[in-house]
Symmetry: C2
Amino acid sequence: MAPEREVACCTPLAAPAWSDADTADIARLCRALADPNRVRIVNLLAASPQPVCVCDLTEPLGVSQPTVSHHLRTLLDAGLVQRERRGTWAYYSLDNETLRRLADVLAPPQPLEVT
Amino acid sequence: MAPEREVACCTPLAAPAWSDADTADIARLCRALADPNRVRIVNLLAASPQPVCVCDLTEPLGVSQPTVSHHLRTLLDAGLVQRERRGTWAYYSLDNETLRRLADVLAPPQPLEVT
DNA sequence: GGACTACATCGACGGGTGTCAATGTAGCGC
DNA sequence: GCGCTACATTGACACCCGTCGATGTAGTCC
């Protein structure tokens, strides 16, 4: 495990910038966005200035209503969308702050080029 | 489909900003980051100024070598990392451009507040 | 050549996931 | 109350995914 000869690899790695909690959080958010239909939902919510009800999402997604509810629940559990009940309808809106937090941790906005 | 009475929902949605290809691409990249071990690999690669070989990743991840190779292949297929063979060793490095592209499409860097 | 090392691939197992039809639930209007 | 609508939940199915041990492959060193 500790040879005296010089080795080309296995140099000690730099300390990771993300904690275990951050890592799990990033993976959880990315898992919520790991399905094309959920990405499309996020896109539709981002494109709408007002909250969107479920019946608006069924048609453009082309899947059944239970499937839409299932995906919305996944996004809701991940904290990417928010739900608001108005009478019979359920209105969903995008949580821009969570999405931005994910984007910022993936690639910090300062573009220092190290080429 | 087109009732005369006023309805509270089902207003026509705004056109989505992402094409189907974009949507699939985002989902593919996010799926590659949907596992904590892969997120940790990306973090380790981002923290290292030089490419990292596989034997450096096995210990901090705490999984077997085939599992590390499997995750690296997933990241490689997604275009998030690059491979470079140097003799016996395989050095992996992070593709910062792909990561930044994902972050930018998730949350564009201009912070216009619409509250 | 032969032995060794580093890495990739294969096969198998358990668990998670996307999808649907069917059913349950809550709110509105009569 | 009753019926209707919008949405959530359940159960079932097929499929994918993370993990491992075992094996294959390519490169180095003697």
